[in-house]
């Protein structure tokens, strides 16, 4: 499942390549997905790509990104790689973790 930013990205800004690892459609997974989408839309409009990986369906992918906890959000780009564990319910910490400047409202 791949979600694309709704609006075209500004040419100068870096593209955020994000992967969210979940294990089946649990409440926690669903919360993480919706939290991530909301945060990205708010702060990274048009600059992000999200890939959601369900490890129950593709367990072989867990080793590649050294996943042990779910949900885990991996920022693959821009480097360095960053990982955020949990359901992403704390927006500020997600922004710190992803190293994103909050968009001014």
């Amino acid at each position: 499942m791949t979600l694309q930013g709704a609006r075209p990205a500004p040419a100068t800004a870096a593209i955020f390549e994000l992967r969210l690892y979940v294990a089946s459609q649990t409440a926690k997974s669903m919360a993480a997905i919706s939290n991530l989408k909301r945060i990205c839309e708010t702060h990274l409009a048009g600059q992000y790509r999200i890939e959601v990986i369900d490890l129950t369906k593709t367990p072989q992918l867990a080793a590649g990104d050294q996943i042990i906890a779910v949900p885990t959000l991996v920022r693959r780009l821009p480097e360095p790689v960053k990982k955020i564990l949990g359901d992403l319910s704390n927006e500020d910490r997600v922004l710190v973790g992803l190293d994103i400047q909050p968009a001014r409202t």
């Binding site: 490890l55 050294q66 042990i68 906890a69 779910v70 992403l88 997600v94 973790g97």
Partner: protein, 577 residues
């Protein structure tokens, strides 16, 4: 229902020498076992060997999930033990999974669980059909994940999950200050706990293993020394001692003919143990060298453990007493393992000896000297260790010669034998005797089980012609050896010679006398003979005279009587009576 006894848990053999004996068959099947200990005590090696032996010997594939080393490092580390992980991985018998968490790249927000780890492990197990799982060291997660409450709950769930999946699991953990593991894993893994320990006594490190807990089964409770050798882990259970070895009636010569004579004429029994003890410089090493030399001469293989001299030094020094060991080494009949006793603890030496004996399969083993092995410990440690060694060698019917250094002063030589003399079948005692400004070596057989043996003290002579035993001079009130013995012998020889010459002189004199008497007899006889001759001559003369007289008178008568008388007879007849 209440009367039913819970079934004894099945055991998964580890294939590790000694450990299966202690645990009565192996680790509990389908349950997790905790192996804990300080850093560098061999937890990973034990866990790895459990997996490798499971895969190679018992056909049980295994997953090794590591949290500290990566697969390349681990493969390199265990290759020294002869485990080829790459090959086993290619055969799908072992799967290595490296779980790495970089604390710096992790942020937490909200709730999570370790389902990812479960999925990974589950996937690994399914992909090779694993029966065994190792988690090494799962505690590393504590430093990677900030939320310990979640981690603890998840680990508890993980161990439960492993049990449910029927995995025979080994979980390693670092020893904590007051607890068995730093993060208290023993709370979750309660079926079997094995503690590894490495202790340093007088700069020598000895590793020990103890089964702290093994639910539902009897197990050895002692601390057992173990070590990681060339062929992996080995544990030495003291309890495996059994006195059931065979007793051979065949004899093995010691290589010194006169010594064999002292031992009932044929030497020692095959498979027996010989102790040669004595103070420094009494010739213990020479006897052991002669012993192995004799074995090699018979075409048997021999193994020498030397703790004082290097291999080359032994070869050189033994040449000085006419023993050339080099050809045997070249032929592969003789192996010399020389090492410093301080290199390892006593147990490690023992295991190395085990390994060397198993690999080489000699028929004769010499240890020179065992007393050096005892430097690190108390006598109480040495005895069981040596007992294990002796029993092991006896089981293999290997004839063994141990030398033992005893101090010259103080206690009698009989006292200072590490308490091992009772384990030995034959005990030769070498002594230095100082007398008349020189020291001489003496040897006697203190005991020899099952053989008639001499009670005599012999002098032990080392020369470039080899080793020989010489009868000592036992006088009225003293025993003489060396120069004094030689002097005494010379003295006796001279006295005997004098006596012999005296006899001869007397005999000569007697012969002379006899000759003189004979001469006298001859002279007398000659005198007699000459007298007799004279006598007969006189008689003959007289007779002749008489005849002559008669004849002349007849002639006269004839002349006087003429024809008238005819002859004398007629005349006489004619004469009137």
């Amino acid at each position: 229902m209440l009367d039913e006894r819970p079934p004894t848990p099945c055991k998964a053999p580890t294939g590790i020498q000694g450990l299966d004996e202690i645990t009565g068959g192996g680790l509990p099947v389908g349950r997790p076992t905790l192996i804990c200990g300080t850093a560098g005590c061999g937890k990973t090696m034990l866990a790895m060997e459990f997996l490798v032996r499971g895969a190679t010997q018992f056909g049980e594939p295994g997953v090794f999930m590591m949290f500290e080393e990566n697969a390349t490092e681990l493969s390199a580390n265990v290759r020294s033990l002869g485990f080829d992980l790459e090959k086993l991985a290619a055969q799908k018998m072992i799967l290595l999974d490296y779980v790495h968490i970089e604390r710096s790249e992790i942020e937490e927000t909200g709730e999570y669980n370790l389902e990812g780890l479960f999925i990974r492990l589950g996937h690994a197990i399914d992909s090779i059909g694993a029966k065994r799982v190792v988690l090494d060291t799962v505690e590393a997660l504590f430093s990677g994940l900030p939320n310990h409450a979640i981690l603890r709950a998840e680990l508890r769930r993980l161990f439960r999950w492993l049990k449910d999946r029927g995995m025979t699991a080994v979980i390693t953990g670092e020893k904590g200050n007051a607890t068995l593991t730093r993060y208290g894993l023993e709370e979750y893994v309660a079926d079997c706990v094995i503690v590894l320990d490495q202790r340093i006594a007088e700069q020598i490190c000895t590793r020990r293993l103890r089964v702290v807990k093994y639910r539902g089964t009897a197990h050895g409770t002692n601390e057992y020394p173990f070590l990681i050798g060339e062929r992996g882990f080995s544990v030495l259970p003291i309890t495996s001692l059994q006195l059931d070895h065979r007793a051979s009636v065949a004899r093995v010569p010691t290589g010194i003919a006169r010594l064999d004579e002292m031992l009932g004429g044929k030497g020692v029994f095959r498979g027996s143990s010989v102790l040669v003890s004595g103070s420094p410089g009494t010739g213990k090493s020479s006897i052991s060298a002669k012993f192995i030399d004799a074995a090699c001469r018979r075409g048997e293989s021999a193994l020498l453990f030397a703790y004082e001299e290097s291999s080359a030094q032994i070869v050189r020094n033994m040449r000085s007493i006419g023993i050339d060991l080099e050809p045997w080494i070249e032929k592969g009949l003789l192996q010399i393992h020389a090492s410093r006793p301080t290199l390892h603890g006593l147990e490690q030496h023992l295991v190395m000896m085990h390994d060397a004996v198993r690999a080489f399969g000699p028929s004769v083993v010499a240890v020179d000297p065992i007393s050096n092995l005892a430097l690190d410990g108390h006598d109480s440690d040495v005895k069981p260790t040596l007992m294990r060694l002796i029993d092991f060698l006896k089981q293999l019917q290997i004839t063994t010669l141990f030398t033992c250094l005893s101090s010259d002063g103080g206690a009698t030589p009989e006292d200072s034998q590490l308490g091992v003399s009772s384990l030995m079948d034959t005990w030769l005692l070498l002594r230095n005797v100082e007398f008349n400004g020189e020291r001489n070596r003496m040897v006697y057989v203190l005991k020899s089980r099952g053989t008639a043996h001499s009670n005599q003290v012999r002098e032990f002579v080392l020369s470039d012609a080899g080793i020989d035993l010489v009868d000592v001079y036992v006088g009225a009130d003293r025993v003489l050896t060396g120069a004094a013995r030689v002097a005494q012998e010379t003295h006796e020889r001279t006295a005997a010679e004098m006596r012999r010459q005296g006899h001869q002189r007397r005999l000569l004199r007697l012969a002379g006398k006899r000759k003189a008497i004979e001469a006298q007899i001859a002279a007398l006889q000659a005198e007699g003979e000459s007298e007799a001759a004279e006598m007969s001559f006189a008689i003959a003369q007289q007779t002749l005279q008489e005849q002559t007289t008669q004849q002349s008178s007849q002639a006269m008568a004839q002349l006087r009587g003429g024809a008238a008388s005819g002859n004398g007879r007629i005349k006489e007849e004619q004469l009137p009576t």
